[in-house]
Amino acid sequence: MKIFRHPRSLTSAVALVAALGAAPALASDITVAMQLEPPHLDPTSAAAGAIDSVLYSNVFEGLTRFMGDGSVVPGLAESWDISEDGTTYTFHLHDGVKFHDGTTMDAEDVKFSLDRARAEDSANAQKALFAGITEVEVIDPLTVKVTLDAPNGSFLFNMAWGDAVIVAPESIEGIKQHPVGTGAFEFKEWVQGDKIVLDKNPDYWGTPAKLDEVTFKFISDPTAAFAAVMAEDVDVFTAFPAPENLPMFEADPRFQVLVGSTEGETILSTNNKRAPFDNKLVREAMAHAIDRQALIDGAMFGYGTPIGTHFAPHNPAYVDLTAQSAYDPELSKKLLAEAGLPDGFETTLHLPPPSYARRGGEIIAAQLAAVGIKAQIINVEWAQWLETVFKGKDFGLTIVSHTEPMDIGIYARPDYYFQYDNPAFQELIKTLNVTSDPAERTAMLQQAQKIIADDYVNGYLFQLPALTVAKVGVQGLWANAPTQATDLTAVSWAD
């Protein structure tokens, strides 16, 4: 591929050879398709995961970053020192890092980015990541000191999120339409409703990207997605929406199917403040009414791992609590009777568009009906779901996948849409946040998992799989999705 950057004559010679059919076309670009198009292109001011799916690591980078296996490694900061008491982090930045508009990335930009994210009027969707920061100081252009109000064991993890990437004050104005970052790819164009094109950043500070051009295509319809892959209109489809079609791709020698894990705990979210769900017996009864394996087979065609609590099974701290809510409709009926509802009750089940929710919802409604709970299915679009369920909290049940990494902390927020309010749990999370000892953290995380499983806060269904279809020859893709990202910096075509 290097040859393409050599003088023109050589390039055309190669092109000639390729045209004669003596060698296969040297592909240096790739088309990656996904379902959702980003609403805009600023990852630091929106909750939409689609933004990170396009830009994380490709265009924007943070002080630290996630790798495909979920580990956190240095990003723009090449190293850091942590004070004895764990409250100050001194980051040493890479030298010679430039934004795509040619300006230099230095400590001032880091200070700007962090101060902007944690400001009172910040539009950042994950302000909790920055909550403990009391001060960001520029020591010299390549050194920045961050002071926390208390030790925070997950601070470096927090800084790896897409919401914590480093942006520049010079380009912040137009970031929503024209993102300017430090990554291995730079933004080229966005044709709304169709595609986003990124070009290789020739001046990248780290290992340069192997591809020259990347096109992200947005195909929301599952049938169209299947057709696009089959017709080879796209090279890669991430988070493929129709799991029933994967066996066909697996059998086709043109394609490879990557089945990995995501951070998406798919749950039957329950409005804990609304009767009768405010009664733990009712929630427990529901948990026993659900047959997870039937759900995974029916809605996901077998792709997915059952979970018994709100935690990713691939995480070393995971405790398997599925037995606690094993499928047992008789027990479920008994519990309902004990709760004073021997004939069951009626409620609503809001279902957002993904097939895990729509199909899963039909199955769950049938399973709940078997014990006497009549859940009326209401199919909603995402905007309506956010409005009614997430913000309005006007729902009984809903199915959704929580794709943020390590998000068990949402159970410590009583105003979060499922409205679980347990002071003991909130205390535990508070202690966890200021603990840095790995063993102690693991113990606390396990305790947290057990508390929410014991309280049957929500119905815990399965871990959403990461399903990627790619042409044979595409290498370097992430199989797992430790965060919402399509990291193409190491992707290339096999010879």
């Binding site: 049938t223 029933e244 079609n245 087979d297 199909r359 199955i363 409604a365 299915i377």
Partner: protein
């Protein structure tokens, strides 16, 4: 041409029969999921195979026929109940402001493609079978109003109506006692055609998720569910598709046959 009538009647009554029987009997419980037995092709145990949840498709087609017929029937009923009086009124007061108002209102509704109106209405009122009925019903009104007015206008010129007018009957009484019985044939034929269009519209609305909501079976949604599974289990798309095609075909043939039977002018011409 009795062949149309017989074939159409046969197909239509088959569907109606399936719908009626489904009230008392279906081979399987239509809501019962048997996920290990999903996507089975048609066989002796499941005549039409099973869907992606392992539900028996024969039972679903039977109950789905009920949904289709109920929605189309009530929708055509709305169209007739409102459209016919409007058409009679417009004809009775030909060229008056009332006639203008009714017919221009008609044009307004007509100007929009019917399915677009239906989508608009269900988008406002929310998805569901009842709202689908309202939506399909509304675009049936102008059809019946126009056809009633057209037929009634020519009748108003006839001698027997003149006689009724001379006898001092009011316009309303003439409309209902003399005009309506004479346009009824035409309306029955049109009703059959509208009924088949109603079934198509219901299937269309359900297909885009605006018709009957799960778990109520509906042919349109069965098609939508089959969309990503056509290559795995073609019967999932073929069977509801065929059910819709045959029903609509049957009703159209029936309408044609009825017209031949009921329209004396046509009968004379053809013989």
């Amino acid at each position: 041409m009795k062949r149309n009538l017989i074939l159409g009647g046969l197909l239509s009554s088959l569907v109606v029969l399936a719908a009626l029987i489904s009230f008392v009997w279906t081979p399987y419980d239509v809501a019962a999921m048997d996920i290990p037995a999903k996507l089975r092709p048609p066989s002796m145990t499941h005549w039409f195979g099973t869907d992606h949840f392992g539900r028996d498709m024969f039972s679903m087609i039977m109950v789905g026929a009920r949904t289709s017929i109920a929605v189309a029937l009530v929708a055509v009923g709305i169209g007739m109940a409102l459209g016919i009086p409007l058409g009679l009124m417009a004809a009775a007061r030909k060229d008056s402001w009332l006639d203008e108002l009714i017919m221009r209102g008609n044009d307004l509704v007509f100007a929009f493609p019917s399915l677009v109106i239906a989508i608009l209405i269900t988008a406002i009122l929310g998805p569901g079978a009842v709202n689908a009925i309202i939506a399909i019903g509304i675009f049936n009104i102008p059809v019946f109003a126009r056809i009633t007015r057209g037929a009634a206008l020519s009748l108003w010129e006839r001698e027997f109506i003149m006689a009724a007018r001379v006898a001092g009957k009011s316009q309303a009484r003439i409309s209902f006692e003399h005009i309506l019985p004479n346009v009824l044939n035409l309306l029955i034929v049109q009703g059959t055609i509208q009924f088949s269009l109603g079934i198509l519209a219901e299937a269309g609305l359900s297909y885009v998720g605006l018709g009957a909501q799960p778990p109520v079976p509906s042919w349109g949604r069965m098609l939508a569910d089959a969309q990503t599974m056509v290559s795995l289990a073609p019967h999932m798309a073929l069977i509801p598709g065929l059910a819709i095609v045959l029903t609509v075909l049957g009703l159209n043939l029936l309408g044609d046959g009825l017209r031949d039977l009921l329209d004396p002018k046509l009968r004379v011409r053809r013989s």
